[in-house]
Amino acid sequence: MSQINRNAAHIRATILANKRVGQYHQIVFGIGDLVKSCRPGNFVAISVGGDSSRMILRRAFAISRVSESASFGGTMELIAAPHGSGSKWLCSQSEGSEVDIVLPLGTAFGIPTSPVNALLVGGGYGSAPLFGLAEVLKSRGCKVDMLLGASTSAKIYAPMEGKRSVNSLKIYTEDGTMGEVGRVTDPIKVLIEEKSIDVIYSCGPMGMLCAISELTANTDVVHQCAVEEAMACGIGICMTCVLPVKGADGQISMLRSCIDGPVMDGSMVQWNLVGQVPEVGS
């Protein structure tokens, strides 16, 4: 059997909870035993709009966290921003409704085998998968510091319960409406110079991921980033979500962010070539 999509299942899942958190919706699905194959960094692809919808493509959402409880069995939480028609439809679904989901998909954040100092950096609701990741890292004895940033306070996603899983949490907004004024990338340079972090895990807009990759270049700090590219299928067959990534052999390939990502080694992504086509033979 092929290794691609090897944990993926195509199911109908019931929405157990759907509540507004600032500008976002926190939606919880019952997914049963599939929680066992979900890892921080994985994403799901959801069919939107109902059977007669003119929206034919699935929408991708990062898994925020999974848990198992006696009363609900395996549950999965997503954070959705009601921006477009598809995400608005999902956010409008009430508790008890069933949704068509393919999950889990994509690569996961690599978890170190021995305790390290980890810095988790989230932009906007890109912070969603970082809270589930923080719990796993803490359980492995890692020191977990988190930086969250957004243009304004309403776009920060930082649930109360999530704060328990980190050693420290600092928030940056560009307009100063929450936390410190500035960008989430501002303090990273100093943290790297102080040698106080071993690994950066990031999720958010491409500009932020690119900026962190520049800061970690030529340092010992590993940068694992979860990328965002427009996807049509989420399972590797449409070839739309590609990014230029350098391989171990030095060759640049257009890799699919759905199956070779979303978590990628930030130092291998050719950020300056995103949206371009590499020269043949480069």
Binding site: N5, A8, S47, M55, A232, I235, M239, V242, Q276
Partner: protein, 312 residues
């Protein structure tokens, strides 16, 4: 009651069922194998492969449109050597029926590809994609030019010999599709794949420029299904003996049946797999049930049934 016969043929190639993947919508099968056994469907039509590795077009490569999508992939792929070394042996191992789709920039490249495919064991047919809209130079869309279409198929036929069936994939973006179809059949095509995507464009209202990196893209999905039905109907009327592999926006068994009634001997499922990884097998069982419910004893007896005289 006799057993329902779901099988079909394209040229001398036999398939247990008439439902295939569509080239460019199933990669080389590995991604979909998690969702159903590839041997359960009629055939896997692999993504059109070129002679050399190719990066394809820049991102953004996709825009969703009402009941459809535009894509501008630009034939990204590993090149024929790596494809034959890595992808085909795996597909053969799955006991899948395989149709290799090839695409070239020149008439010679098609012939080169045909020569490399000729010696590969386990292949049911070769699809010659002369209609990919995502090439830099629209002049290279061979299927828009009757003479160029003929010359490509002629070159492939001469290289490949008489055994492997050739399926010519044509574009609906032409004035006289039956004429182009006749030309490629005269040059040696055994079957026709109808239709490739329809050329389109989306303007991004934020940037106020074309949204796709390649500016134009191919429109697919349910939005183009009536175009496919029309194209298949026209070509089947003109060339009733030539088998057609129909495709274009098929999302359900009833959609597939429309194409069959219009004249398709087989139906490829493309964009529907993006929204539903089980689309190919779902459509296959729905079509089978529908044909039986309508009283057909075989798939073949339904092919082109929409063309019968009014009083029949």
């Amino acid at each position: 009651m006799s057993e329902f016969d779901f099988s079909t043929t394209l040229g001398n190639a036999f398939f247990n069922t008439p439902i295939f993947t569509a080239s460019g919508c199933a990669s080389s099968g590995k991604e979909l194998a998690q969702f159903f056994p590839l041997k359960d469907i009629g055939a896997v039509v692999t993504k059109s492969v070129m002679n050399k590795p190719r990066y394809g077009r820049p991102t953004p490569r996709m825009a969703e449109t009402p009941s459809g999508m535009l894509n501008s992939i630009g034939l990204q792929g590993p090149g024929i050597e790596a494809f034959l070394a890595n992808d085909i042996p795996w597909l053969v191992e799955q006991n899948s029926r395989i149709i290799i789709s090839i695409a070239g920039e020149t008439i010679e490249e098609y012939a080169t590809l045909a020569r490399k495919v000729r010696s590969v064991a386990g292949i049911s047919a070769i699809e010659v994609n002369i209609s990919c809209p995502n090439v830099e130079n629209r002049g290279l869309v061979f299927a828009c030019d009757p003479e160029a279409s003929r010359r490509v198929i002629d070159g492939v036929r001469k290289t490949i010999g008489g055994e492997l069936p050739i399926i010519a994939k044509l574009s609906p973006d032409v004035t006289n599709l039956p004429e182009i179809a006749k030309g490629v059949v005269e040059s040696g095509a055994d079957a026709l794949a109808l239709i490739n995507t329809v050329l389109g464009m989306v303007i991004n209202l934020e940037t106020m420029r074309p949204h796709l990196g390649g500016k134009t893209g191919g429109l697919s999905g349910p939005a183009i299904r009536p175009v496919a039905v029309r194209a298949i109907y026209q070509v089947h009327a003109a060339l009733p003996e030539v088998p057609i592999l129909g495709m274009g926006g098929v999302t359900s068994g009833r959609d597939a049946l429309e194409l069959v009634l219009a004249g398709a001997s087989g139906v490829s499922v493309g964009t529907a797999s993006f929204g539903n990884p089980h689309a190919v097998v779902d459509i296959q069982s729905e079509l089978r049930d529908l044909l039986i419910a309508k009283g057909f004893s075989s798939l073949k007896s339904a092919v082109g049934y929409a063309h019968r005289e009014a009083n029949l």
